[in-house]
């Protein structure tokens, strides 16, 4: 088990270093740099000052080296857009994204998996209707889902139309602030959860269909196990293996940023921060966001492994051996 964690930690470290270094280099090598944000009327001295401040006068390799040395000491540089250290910006945005991702994951899991069990184990109108809704949710791009939900919220007033908190929560206490965040959460969380829940439903359904045709299921049925118990205790548990693999990746993807949803719903998370940093070629902010995305991906991968470990005895036995 210890070796497993060491391997995972090494993998996570490599992932973070690779992702952040690649992001920094790609941003550096892409056409345009942050000085274009200063506008056409910027003076040459001002452009030179900015280039010097963000190491754009150094070669890409030298810049990467300098940044990596500083990053090893947890100094990720400064943001051009926000004129403040990248570390603080990322911490705050990552926290916001985590809140959103956990909510979206909870909705997607609680809806997607049970519905997948239903559609994978039975035929009929209900299963057909669920499949159709799933396919629709999978086909509609997140941008459209976000805008549609925003439109409904703006017309009905059922939910706040974007943002993470309302102005009234500024002077409120901690509990009122939490409630306010909870009111703002459903819209972006739903926008993220709908396609994800549909993915879970489809995968679970497929895994379930395959499992219930396995000989051990038929044998259990012959032994007189009830259909409901058979589904939950035998077939579902056996079908979890493929779900666990995708589940961890989904966690990683959700946490590492949901660009479109955060952008449209003005959720101040990592995805939106990364998008704005990329647009402005805010090189250290891009690298920092990518590093945090890498951390989340590694975390997702770890969760995936742990779930697999818990769900599949063969993995446990393999580890023990």
């Amino acid at each position: 088990m210890g070796r497993f964690f060491v391997r995972r930690l090494t993998f996570a470290l490599l992932l973070v270093v690779t992702v952040s270094s690649s992001a920094l280099m790609l941003t550096r090598l892409a056409p345009g740099d942050m000085t274009t944000e200063l506008g056409l009327r910027a003076r040459p001295e001002e452009i030179a000052r900015t280039r010097a401040r963000f190491d754009l006068n150094r070669s890409p390799a030298a810049q990467l080296g300098g940044w990596a040395l500083r990053a090893a000491r947890f100094d990720f540089g400064e943001s051009f857009l926000y004129d403040r250290p990248v570390g603080g910006l990322i911490r705050r945005a990552a926290g916001n994204t985590a809140v959103l991702a956990v909510a979206a994951l909870a909705i997607a899991t609680l809806a997607g998996i049970p519905l997948g069990i239903v559609t994978g184990s039975r035929r009929g109108a209900l299963a057909g209707a669920i499949r159709t809704v799933s396919l629709v949710c999978l086909s509609v791009p997140p941008l459209l889902t976000s805008l549609l939900l925003l439109f409904i919220a703006s017309r009905t007033g059922w939910l706040p139309t974007g943002g993470m908190t309302s102005v009234d929560a500024v002077d409120a206490g901690w509990s009122a602030w939490t409630l306010d965040v909870a009111r703002h959460l459903p819209l972006p969380a739903l926008a993220l959860a709908l396609p994800l829940g549909a993915t879970f439903e489809r995968l679970q359904a497929q895994a379930m269909t395959e499992t219930i045709h396995q000989p051990f299921v038929v044998a259990a049925l012959a032994r007189g196990v009830t259909w409901r118990r058979l589904l939950i205790d035998h077939a579902w548990r056996a079908s979890l293996r493929s779900m666990c693999a995708i589940y961890g990746l989904a966690i990683g993807a959700l946490l590492s940023g949901s660009f479109v949803v955060e952008y449209v719903t003005a959720w101040p998370g990592l995805g939106r921060l990364m998008y704005e940093a990329l647009r402005a070629r805010d090189i250290y902010l891009v690298a920092g966001c990518a590093a945090m995305g890498g951390v989340f991906l590694a975390f997702g991968s770890l969760v995936s492994d742990l779930l697999l470990f818990a769900a599949d005895p063969r993995v446990r036995e393999g580890q023990t051996a």
Partner: protein, 581 residues
């Protein structure tokens, strides 16, 4: 049975959702309480506004992004300001001034009793400090350029604590208008940074809001990056309404950062937002009008935009290297042919959905002060366009629909524009269709902003379609575009050997800049517009009508064609008491 039951449930659900949706979007019924009309501004309340991005700095003398202008207008003060409706200069922190006979020296008498938001008295020392900070070699930026005449900075001195003397190094046509950008910063807060050579870093966005003091109607209370800024009433603000009511009327302005413009419009329609920083896009006009019919929004026609989208070729010879197409691109007749080939009425219809008027130069009828109605025009005439092209040796010799020169070099170009801006992309698409009739082929290439700007600055393009904003209607505010040596002379960056007509524009612009007689300035600038329209370094087709939408509960909104559209007048904004409309 089960199937039928499910069907019934689904149908009932859809009907119920439809009913709730209809109820929520329906206008109030006749049984609603009577609404009273109130035009008397009341004190108190808060409004929520929004913008695409937040600040990069709270230091106005350093920041030059769009938000900086909003921040300054809310929290800072100037000696004089340009009224964004009348475009006239009006007294602000200086209550009056005297001008010397030669027009070079202005003596400003500061308004008595004005204090900074922290209670420290405002004196002439603050003005002198601000001028010193603007021209500080360690931080000199865009504002310094606007406060120079013939390349030399203005000078400031003080007779006493309440009198400031500003001397222009040479006669200046715009004169006092230049001081619209002289934002006064507090000496008692920033002197240390200037002395330490760190003024450019002072008042960064991590500065505690209590440290940011000003003389504007509001003070910064809180900044949450990527979310919002909150501005509270400045209790020491100096201005009073005509009836003696202390301004501002509002207690608070909340500035939400909403990156997506579609989401912003939805929030405006829902009443979550009171106003925005920009005019409506052509596509937003119909939904905004619908919201106005329901009584949630007011839509005001501001007038014609003083800025317009331009189409231009890269006229920097080095950029074309040995490309033979430059031999005809550089000829004014070629660009005139393009101007003739475009039906501007149709262009206005297709690109701005009809809410635009044809134009023939960069100064539009929206600039009521400087527009010249007799500017040379090129009315739609495809035959005339073909004739001009033929005169340049360009004909469709191979019958493929595109004209080429005798050596077979086709008039085919890639046009760069900004990706994601609907009217830019529609504009290039419409030009493609219309120019094809004259045998000129263009290929649209929408690029994201950073790449596009880099291509432009490096002169790495053939043609572009874009718009440049202006901060004032006076041509002096765009000198860097008009002068061949200017930083924003975008059709030919780094122009060291201007064409004769460009040299003539240079001379005329310098002359009008040094002319104090406004009538004479206008006559000179008309001549500039004529030369520009004859040579067409940039071709203009239409300028949009500007519409501005804001929450119907607001009072005192005077939208301007300049940005920020409504917050330039923030101290006069108020909200109607609930129950009135």
């Amino acid at each position: 049975m089960n199937v039928r039951l499910i069907g019934v449930l689904i149908t009932a659900g859809i009907l119920a959702a439809g009913l709730v949706f209809w109820r929520s979007t329906a206008t109030p019924d006749d049984g609603a309480p009577a609404i009273t009309v109130s035009d008397v501004p009341s004190r108190g309340g808060q409004i929520v506004t929004s913008g695409r991005a937040g600040p990069r700095t709270f230091n106005r003398l350093i920041g030059q992004e769009q938000f900086s202008q909003v921040l300054s207008m809310l929290t800072q003060g100037r000696l004089v300001r340009v009224n964004y409706q009348t475009f006239e200069v009006e007294p602000w922190l200086a209550e009056k001034w005297d001008v010397s006979g030669d027009g070079l020296t202005y003596t400003f008498h500061l308004r008595p009793g004005v204090t900074w938001s922290d209670g420290v008295p405002f004196t002439s020392d603050d003005v002198l400090f601000s001028v010193q900070a603007i021209f500080d070699p360690n931080s000199e930026g865009f504002i310094a350029d606007t406060l120079k005449v013939e390349g030399k900075p203005i000078a400031a001195s003080a007779r006493d604590a309440a009198t400031v003397i500003i001397t222009f190094p040479a006669p200046s046509g715009p004169g006092l208008r230049l001081l619209d950008s002289l934002w006064i910063v507090p000496k008692h807060k920033l002197e240390g940074a200037l002395k330490a050579g760190t003024f450019a870093k002072a008042w960064g966005t991590d500065t505690p809001p209590s440290e940011i003091v000003g003389m504007g109607p509001f003070v910064l209370r809180e900044y949450v990056p990527n979310q919002r800024l909150i501005f509270d009433r400045n209790p020491r603000y100096w201005r009073k309404a005509a009836d003696g009511t202390p301004l501002p009327y509002l207690d608070r302005i909340v500035y939400e950062i909403i990156p997506d413009q579609d989401a912003e419009l939805l929030r405006l329609q829902s009443g979550d937002l009171d106003l925005t920083q920009s005019e409506l896009r052509p596509d937003d006009y119909v939904p905004a009008r619908r919201a106005e019919d329901k009584g949630t929004l007011k839509v005001a026609e501001i007038g014609l935009s003083p800025q317009a989208d331009g189409f231009w070729f890269n006229l920097k010879p080095e950029a074309w290297k040995n490309d033979p197409r430059f031999t005809f691109v550089r000829r004014p007749e070629f660009r005139q042919a393009i101007s003739y080939a475009v039906d501007r009425e149709k262009f206005a219809e297709n690109v701005f959905l009809g809410a635009a008027v044809p134009i023939w130069g960069p100064v539009t009828p929206g600039n009521t002060v400087w527009f010249w109605p007799d500017v040379p025009r090129y009315f739609h005439d495809v035959n005339k366009a073909k004739e001009l092209l033929k005169g340049l040796g360009l004909e469709d010799r191979n019958g493929n629909g595109v004209v080429e020169d005798a050596q077979g070099h086709e008039a085919r170009f890639t046009v760069i524009t900004q990706r994601g801006i609907g009217w830019y992309e529609r504009g290039v698409a419409d030009l493609r269709t219309q120019l094809a009739q004259a045998g000129i082929a263009i290929e649209p290439a929408p690029l994201e902003n950073a790449t596009m700007i880099q291509r432009m600055v490096k002169s790495d393009y053939e043609a572009m379609y874009l718009r440049f904003g202006a901060t004032d209607v006076d041509p002096a505010s765009q000198l860097d575009m008009w002068l061949s040596s200017g930083n924003a002379h975008f059709w030919h960056f780094g122009d060291t050997s201007p064409e004769p007509w460009e040299a003539r524009i240079d001379a005329l612009m310098k002359e009008q800049l040094a002319t104090l007689d406004q009538g004479r300035r206008k006559a000179i600038f008309n001549d500039v517009q004529r030369i520009f329209a004859e040579n067409l370094p940039v071709i203009y087709f239409a300028t949009p009508r500007m519409y501005y939408a804001y929450n119907a509960r607001l009072q005192g909104v005077k939208p301007s064609v300049l940005r920020p559209v409504a917050l330039w007048n923030a101290d006069m904004l108020s909200v109607r008491p609930s129950g009135t409309r």
